[in-house]
Symmetry: C2
Subunit: 344 residues, 2 copies
């Protein structure tokens, strides 16, 4: 493989063969981004397609190390270089069932494998490949912000992913500096498969088009990360996403009545729909200013520092940059907005 030109952004999509994953790969290829896809199957549109074979790579460690090796070969990187601008994990699945369902234990196991294991592999790879200031996106679910008695395994897995996202975004998680960790918490994505299993009574206009997600991802990737931080800092993220609610309008004709309805729908469903809910917090370890001239400590040493010692540092920048400034919260907002949000 020829060397990737240095000004080209590089993106890894885990779950690159699913409906959303394919849309993301295609979108960023069109934007001249180098894109690698990882999935149980190939995505021929990607610059690099890694096909995880379940029967050869049993554990998450097997999978992670195999991907790691393949990426290193393709990116022609040495051990110290980190080259990816973004890692996006959209692998997952759905299986319902309560504790009375025959397949209850199977559903717990399967949802864990599909949603959680792929996400922790993403975290593992982010540690090794993501540039400072890079973007790490994982996929949760709005439903898992509350109890899911009729789809217990699914909810548990997504709750674990939400916790992973919040923890990765917190100080001391071991990610490269200034990374942005974002959780997508969709309600229903508008995919062919979801339409296939629809009962016919759905309001498709309330489903999230994949193009809306790819648009957000593009906005977030790379130089515009700062914008996410700013939005978050202003407690304004959800509003920002709300304002990009063209997705509703695009589903409505331009008659005044429809427009009114559209506005109302946008108001009511905006968060419920757009992605519905997003966490992002900047993960950052800015050096205190009085130490700014020092070389950064070796990462190995940083890892061994006890949290107590970390707390003795003063982090002077109030931009979602330390545990002191950011708390993660999962909850139901007033007005029914649900998601993970950062609060300061």
């Amino acid at each position: 493989m020829s060397k990737i030109s240095e000004d080209k952004k590089q993106l890894l999509v885990i779950g690159g063969r699913g409906a959303l994953g394919q849309a993301i790969v295609r979108h960023f290829k069109e934007k001249n981004v180098w894109v690698a896809s990882v999935d149980h199957g190939s995505n021929e549109e990607a610059d690099l397609s890694l096909n995880i074979k379940r029967n050869e790579l049993h554990t998450t460690l097997d999978q992670a190390q195999w991907i790691e090796q393949k990426l290193k070969e393709s990116l022609q990187m040495d051990a110290a270089t980190k080259t990816l601008d973004g890692i996006i994990c959209v692998a997952g699945g759905w299986m319902g069932g309560n504790v009375a369902t025959d397949d209850f234990l199977k559903s717990v196991d399967m949802m864990w494998k599909q949603s959680v294991e792929s996400s922790v592999v993403a975290a593992y790879l982010a540690r090794r490949f993501l540039k400072e200031g890079g973007l790490l996106v994982m996929t949760g679910a709005q439903a898992a912000a509350g109890p899911t008695p009729t789809m217990i395994g699914y909810g548990m897995a997504k709750a674990a992913v939400h916790h992973l996202i919040k923890s990765l975004a917190a100080e001391g998680s071991g990610l490269p500096r200034n990374c942005v960790v974002v959780g997508l918490l969709p309600r229903t994505l508008d995919t062919p498969n979801n339409r296939k299993f629809a009962t016919g009574n759905e309001d498709y206009g309330s489903w999230t088009p994949l193009s809306h997600i790819t648009g957000l991802l593009e906005k977030w990737l790379g130089s515009q990360n700062k914008d996410i931080q700013t939005a978050e800092r202003d407690h304004n993220l959800i509003l920002n996403i709300k304002s990009s609610s063209h997705i509703f309008q695009s589903n409505n004709k331009n008659s005044k009545k429809k427009e009114k309805k559209s506005k109302k729908m946008a108001k009511i469903l905006s968060i419920a729909v757009a992605l519905t809910a997003i966490l992002f917090m900047a993960y950052a370890l800015p050096r205190p200013q009085d130490e700014a001239t020092e070389a950064p400590p070796a990462e190995e040493n940083m890892e061994k520092r006890k949290p107590e010692n970390q707390h003795t540092h003063f982090w002077p920048i109030p931009v979602l940059s330390s545990r002191n400034n950011v708390k993660a919260r999962v909850g139901r907002e007033k007005g029914g907005r649900v998601g993970i949000v950062g609060e300061r």
Copy 2:
């Protein structure tokens, strides 16, 4: 095995060989309760000790079905009878590590196996053995109510358990009627092992004595379940636990100074210590009164009813008995109290 006398309460303890599990088995044996222990190892004090052999029972389904079979034999029950008054899962473990730790993926896997799999087995067994109105207790962790960047696998597993608890407590989870689902969210239990790994700077007075937990469990088991509900209904549960803060005082002499300190400590640490945080919601499917004379629907049919149909019922009892009255919330209370609580 001789038939268990019918008026004797029956309890299953999962993790009955750990420090807390042993304390629970001993406590309830002294109270004349029939106690079964499940663990990777035997507890000879229990009336029935089931030793799960990891190398023979690989999956949660293998384990759950094996326990199910053994319990049926011991309890001499037929398929329709449910006989346990309580199931308490205190199995678990701890392994730290952030994403930069060599064992990151291993820690995720191990924490899942130890905390989550044992909890879902408890849920599986609760469906099959727990009496109506029975008690199901699982063990979360206060730490997992917020991000855990330096112990990611642990936090993810406990977050999944919290979600399981909330979901089991919600309408439609498939548990027997009127069960009470409680999550213990300890900070640090005062066990020999935790003392062994203490750094020496710990305030042991702030650790939760096992006797405090066994006391609560005894209060909750059986006829006094209603008290939990009442406390919860009054938003008073945490206060109730606070008020049983003899555990602090028992660590302090009776001098006035110490007493003052003791009160202050009790105030500051009460929730942080006692269990720190508890979810409980009654899971109940009371029949609407106009159907009270009907035979209960077959459980199989109930399971197949769609959630939408369930919502068309009116649940007349405002005691934590339906989704309409109870919402589960994970969050940080004002004043630093952390936990899962029911809110209405």
